[in-house]
Amino acid sequence: MRPLSIVVRTICNIFAWFVAIFGAYVILHGHLTPGGGFQGGAIVATFIALLLVAHGGKSFLGWVKKEIFSSFEGAGLVAFVCVGFLGLSTTFLYNFLALKGGLFGSAVPIGPNAGVLNSSGTIALANIAVGLEVVGGLSAILIFMFLGMRYVSEGGKEGVKDDK
């Protein structure tokens, strides 16, 4: 995949970052607003897609290694299961942080309000874990689809075989 024109690349350089920040916002506010870990993660993966399309695969893979996305994926998944295990003193996945003060432990006032970011206990942690996992997973899918395209278009000379 060749890089697109300088116009596209410049605009991508400026605006792609907003996509990433918006994705992070959706992940972190998962317990307050519509969306959550999966949706936010998908938005952040769009950032990767934009970079990949605008700058072409060669320079993109020069900036980041694809192993980093696998490690995001693994870390997110392990974090999610660990959140479950930490609640095991009561039951698996028990919300042990809610209403305890401290991290994500504030109470939410009754009635209409703007929402308290520091509330909801392990739900927020689980959202962050899922967000991390989806960023890694969807980006890895995009990169592997790109490598598959390159494998086909270059007559099978490079790509899938040397990716192990």
């Binding site: 299961v81 609640g87 698996f92 192990k164």
Partner: protein
């Protein structure tokens, strides 16, 4: 409250943790150690769960609840949480499945040396393990669907693991399309029940069940999708490809995963519909599925030349025995006289056959895998005279083949005898088909034994050696299980099979465990 009440959550989450951490394992040796540790740990957890249920009765677990058994907080009439419900039947299935998985995992450790992305194999293997155990412990329709999908997606990857072989890709793709299709059919069935009863909990639906048109429609969707997932005959076309092309350890594993779908079918037929479904149509549908699977599976198996494909067809045929045994139990469900006359015996036979099949069919796939490991082929025309070169494999194959053919001292004989006896009472034709199937099974395994292991040794197989120790250990696990099931059939029947059959029949206790008696 002992820690053992958390076992239903642990048997699912420990393999999940194993899967996710194994992605990060850099050194192969460390990864193999991790693989074996988590396998053994999960099997021990499944055993403890079975023991806990045997002592304390049905175990209900509420994910994320304030107490592990608080299913209905005050003021609610329907359970809405993620509830796991393990009765003796579910615990028995989980135990049988984990033992077969342990063996297939130990067997696969050496296979991993031959591939360079073994981490992914381990991760998929544990995901499949978690999916299978999840199917057997869940008490909720939607979670059943989720675990079904986890198990399916993991098995797509595992079936296509030799991805340089076009046949493996084809088998996996075929399975992927069919399996996704029937999973959606299952989901539509779940949606119908949710629309009617406003809940997804199996026990709550069973309590309110009044069978009308929509419930019958949902039942048809469930039976079709789960019959396909377990490989019963009109819907078996993916099975020979998938089992034949997957790595041998995985084929052994897929057998017990298929049985988990079978478990779902029986759970829905007995515990969700059960007494509310009048008439014998459902029972006869299951019995006829069983007869067809039994007979068509075995006549397709007799003509195969490829050992793993032959065994895959036998797998279909053995599924038929379980369907028929438990279908006869369902037929007798509404009358206590029929239940004591033939129904309970048939159920014991069917359930005994589940664990038997997991053990000997698994062992047969593993011996086929070691033939492949040693010689590079499982085509029976290219094998011969291996008995002297691979004595352990030969011995294990002989044990497993005798057990599957139902030769008297072995466990296959016990379960088949129970099914013959009970089906004869209903109609002699059923027993005749079952016996003919058994004879043809014997014939086809005599063929495999003769052409694979006996006869003069072939020149092109001179360098063949016995497989490495870890593979022998994997096979040994199942071989020991077969021999002990054969040596103590009475103990097994009294302690493993009968509690499972009793709990499967007893719909009221399944409902009461979640809903309580007060409501």
């Amino acid at each position: 409250m002992s820690w053992q009440v958390h076992l239903p959550a642990l048997v699912v989450s420990v393999p999940l943790l194993g899967a996710f951490i194994s992605i990060a394992m850099v050194k192969p040796r460390l990864r193999n150690l991790w693989f074996a540790t988590i396998l053994v740990a999960t099997t021990i957890l499944a055993f403890l769960m079975w023991r806990y249920v045997a002592i304390n009765g049905t175990l209900v677990y509420v994910m994320g609840g304030e107490r592990w058994n608080l299913t209905l907080p005050s003021g609610m009439t329907l359970p809405i949480r993620i509830i796991m419900e393990v009765d003796a039947f579910g615990a028995f299935m989980a135990l049988a499945g984990s033992i077969a998985t342990l063996a297939s995992g130990l067997f696969s450790v050496r296979f991993l040396d031959r591939v360079n992305d073994g981490n992914k194999f381990v991760a998929l293997f544990f995901l499949l393990f978690a999916g299978m155990l999840g199917l057997e412990v869940t008490g909720d329709f939607f979670n059943f669907f989720v675990f079904l999908e986890i198990a399916s997606v993991a098995s797509f990857g595992l079936i296509a693991f030799w991805r340089d072989r076009p046949e493996a890709i084809e088998a996996s793709f075929k399975y992927a399309v069919l399996s996704t299709f029937v999973a959606l059919i299952f989901l539509i069935g779940v949606g119908i029940l949710y629309g009617v009863y406003g809940t997804l909990n199996m026990a709550a639906i069973a309590k309110n069940m009044q069978v009308g048109f929509l419930e019958k429609l949902a039942l048809v969707l469930f039976i079709v999708s789960l019959a396909m997932k377990s490989g019963a005959v009109p819907l078996h076309m993916w099975e020979p490809d998938a089992y034949g092309q997957a790595p041998a350890g995985v084929s052994c594993f897929l057998v017990v995963v298929g049985q988990a779908s079978l478990y779902g079918m029986f759970r829905i037929a007995f515990s969700v519909y059960g007494q509310a479904f009048e008439g014998s149509v459902l029972a006869w549908v299951i019995i006829v599925l069983g007869l067809l699977s039994m007979f068509i599976g075995v006549i397709m198996a007799v003509i195969q030349k490829e050992a793993k494909r032959l065994m895959a067809y036998h797998c279909i045929s053995q599924t038929g025995y379980m369907l028929m045994g438990i279908g006869l139990g369902l037929l007798a469900l509404s009358s206590s006289q029929a239940m004591s006359e033939y129904g309970f015996t048939a159920m014991k036979g069917g359930i005994f056959h589940i664990i038997n099949n997991a053990m000997y069919k698994g062992l047969l796939f593993l011996t086929a895998g070691s033939l492949f490991y040693a010689t590079g082929t499982t085509n029976l025309n290219k094998l011969g005279g291996l008995a002297r070169k691979m004595p352990y494999t030969t011995f294990m194959f002989a044990v497993a083949a005798a057990a599957i053919a139902g030769l008297p001292p072995f466990n296959g004989f016990v379960s088949k005898l129970l099914i013959y006896e009970s089906s004869f009472v209903v109609h002699p034709f059923l027993a005749v088909v079952a016996m003919v199937t058994s004879i043809l099974t014997l014939a086809s395994f005599v063929k495999v034994f003769q052409s694979g292991f006996l006869g003069p040794s072939r020149d092109d197989l001179n360098n063949v050696r016995e497989v490495p120790l870890s593979m022998v250990v994997g096979m040994m696990v199942l071989c020991v299980m077969i021999i002990s099931l054969s040596m103590m059939p009475n103990w097994v029947l009294a302690n493993l099979i009968e509690p499972a059959a009793r709990d499967l029949v007893n719909q009221a206790s399944y409902i009461q465990a979640v809903m309580g008696s007060g409501l």
